[in-house]
């Protein structure tokens, strides 16, 4: 039986990918950030999951505005890397798990989550930066990936409650798949940040710390945070944090926080990383 063993929350700031791709990780600006991810990388190497479900958002790369899926599940065998405007990131293509993804689609739709089935998509920094942070720069990614894209670009994003419920349905879907697989789930994006308008650069460490604290102990409360509160308190783009609630919902009631890291800034973003093991 497939089992979700842990969830990883992490920011996906594009500048982090650019720092790795351009050999800048040793610069003083970046040293604390990459040092802070070392324990998470080691955890990932030890855990060696077979499959990673990566909850992320596309940033007007795979999807233009012709079609905007609220929830899209990547069902392809392989996903190419998007050219976001400066050429594709020099990272390996992402290998999918189409059998499990197909099973998840059926299970989720029958569970009343109307997923958009995505059979071809390019992946942008929202997905590749988390892989880089947790796996470094291998020749090939040592994990098969099921991308789950969430619309957080055009308001409104799905609510935190809806995301949390989707996570619970994902747990049910994965655990009804009859193949021995170790699965992890990433919730990506955030934490506090705003990258538009005269209020750009907003950071709210207090909000972020409370979010990290309650992710383990009180996710129901986080699931009730209305969209306006994310926008007002933590910046227009902090709404990405609803994706962490999909991850949290997929872990079951009891979790143990085994790692946490918080750092300001990466470009305009407060970077958070947390690892929660399902208990």
């Amino acid at each position: 039986m497939a089992k979700i063993i842990a969830g990883i929350g992490t920011s996906h700031t594009p500048a982090i990918g650019a720092a790795v791709d351009n050999g800048k990780t040793g610069e003083p600006y970046w040293v604390p950030l990459f040092k802070g991810y070392e324990p998470a990388k080691k955890w990932m190497a030890d855990a060696a999951p077979d499959v990673a479900i990566v909850v992320y958002n596309d940033h007007v790369n795979a999807f233009d505005f012709k079609i905007i899926p609220t929830f899209g599940l990547g069902c392809a065998a392989e996903f190419p890397i998007a050219d976001e405007g400066w050429g594709p990131r020099p990272v390996p293509p992402v290998i999918g798990h189409p059998e499990l993804a197909a099973h998840m689609v059926q299970s989720l739709v029958l569970d009343e989550f109307d997923m958009t089935i995505v059979n071809e998509m390019q992946l942008d920094h929202g997905l590749t930066v988390p892989l880089t942070l947790l796996y470094g720069t291998p020749q090939a990614w040592p994990v098969r990936v099921i991308p789950l894209s969430v619309n957080v670009v055009q308001y409104p994003a799905p609510t935190g409650h809806r995301c949390h419920m989707l996570g619970k349905a994902i747990k049910k879907a994965v655990e009804s798949w009859d193949e021995d697989l170790k699965v992890v789930i990433f919730g990506t994006g955030g934490m506090s940040h705003q990258i538009q308008g005269p209020r750009a650069g907003l950071i709210n460490k207090k909000f972020d710390t409370a979010f990290l604290d309650e992710l383990s102990s009180n996710p129901e409360h986080l699931a009730g945070i209305p969209p306006l509160e994310y926008l007002r308190e933590a910046g227009a783009e902090a709404i990405e944090l609803v994706m962490w609630l999909i991850m949290r919902g997929a872990l079951g009631d009891k979790v143990e926080e085994v790692y946490r890291f918080y750092h300001v800034p990466a470009s305009s973003t407060a970077v958070g990383n947390i690892i929660l093991e399902a208990r």
Binding site: D83, E84, V153, Q196, P198, R199, N204
Partner: protein, 131 residues
């Protein structure tokens, strides 16, 4: 026909990319999206106005592109993730674009972020800012 103001319109210095703004910005964002290809970036650089005429956007939107009036692009329905492809085409960074939106130099913006970012106090609502 018109709707009540949304509560998020009270957030200062912010244009939330909602469904109405997305509707107005559809062709503008299609233009930004086109800059994902190298050939299109080169064509745009060669004659910006001519390239913009290929997209049925408003003249105000074209003007904001040509002037790199970043905040105006937000107001007229551009979404920052799409707008930034114009900054990348100019070989500028996201931080550069953000600093221009705030009306400071890129270095001042970087310094603000290094010092912990912009505090939320004073930036929660327009009334709190006195406007």
């Amino acid at each position: 026909m018109s709707k009540q103001p949304e509560a998020y319109e009270d957030i200062p210095g912010t244009w939330v990319f909602d469904a109405q703004r997305a509707r107005k910005g559809y062709h503008l964002n299609a233009f930004f999206y086109s800059l994902m290809s190298h050939e299109n970036r080169e064509e745009f650089r060669a004659d910006e106005r001519k390239y913009l005429m290929k997209f049925p956007m408003t003249e105000a939107q074209r003007g904001a592109v040509l002037k790199r009036d970043w905040n105006k692009l937000l107001e007229l329905g551009g979404v920052s993730y799409a707008i930034v492809k114009l900054a990348f085409t100019d070989r500028k960074s996201y931080q550069f674009m953000a600093s221009q939106m705030c009306g400071v130099t890129e270095q001042q913006y970087v310094d603000m972020m290094m010092a912990g970012g912009r505090p939320v106090d004073g930036w929660r609502s327009k009334s709190e800012r006195g406007n």
